[in-house]
Symmetry: C2
Subunit: 85 residues, 2 copies
């Protein structure tokens, strides 16, 4: 698992879809799809409910989103003006 997985996952979760996340991150939909797939495989759990047209976070997805946000926001960079990432 790498930070890229968390960034992509967070973008999808917060924007309600792969397509919108892809536009915002300026990558292809397929890149998002692949990374989310790998992430779900590594975690051994589905993160999104793909039944309907609009995806929804699963229970595991909700929990993992909290952790992802925590990680991505971790360093408050008291010693550095700009964010690390």
């Amino acid at each position: 698992m790498e930070l890229r997985h968390l960034r992509y996952f967070k973008a999808v979760a917060e924007n309600g879809g792969f397509a919108r996340a892809a536009r915002i991150l300026r990558v292809a939909q397929s890149a998002i799809s692949g990374q989310i797939h790998d992430l779900e495989e590594e975690l051994g759990a589905s993160l999104f409910d793909r039944a309907k047209r609009q995806i929804r976070l699963t229970y595991h997805g909700e929990l993992f989103l909290k952790d992802a946000k925590t990680v991505l926001a971790s360093p408050d960079c008291a010693h550095s003006a700009e964010r690390y990432w």
Copy 2:
């Protein structure tokens, strides 16, 4: 920046050298050296003092180590038995 950079950096810092970190992580020294180099370049600051034979954390290195540890320890995984990474 990816989690790999943080893992390598933490290993070097906590084991007092690139060689020992490489042995523990089971990668080549050159892999460690390259990733630390990239990390320092991205941060725009040296993380280690290489003047003497044994390396030492710089001021920025000390600060960044705290952040790295925070990130790597972030998810307490209340909902999952095993660690994410």
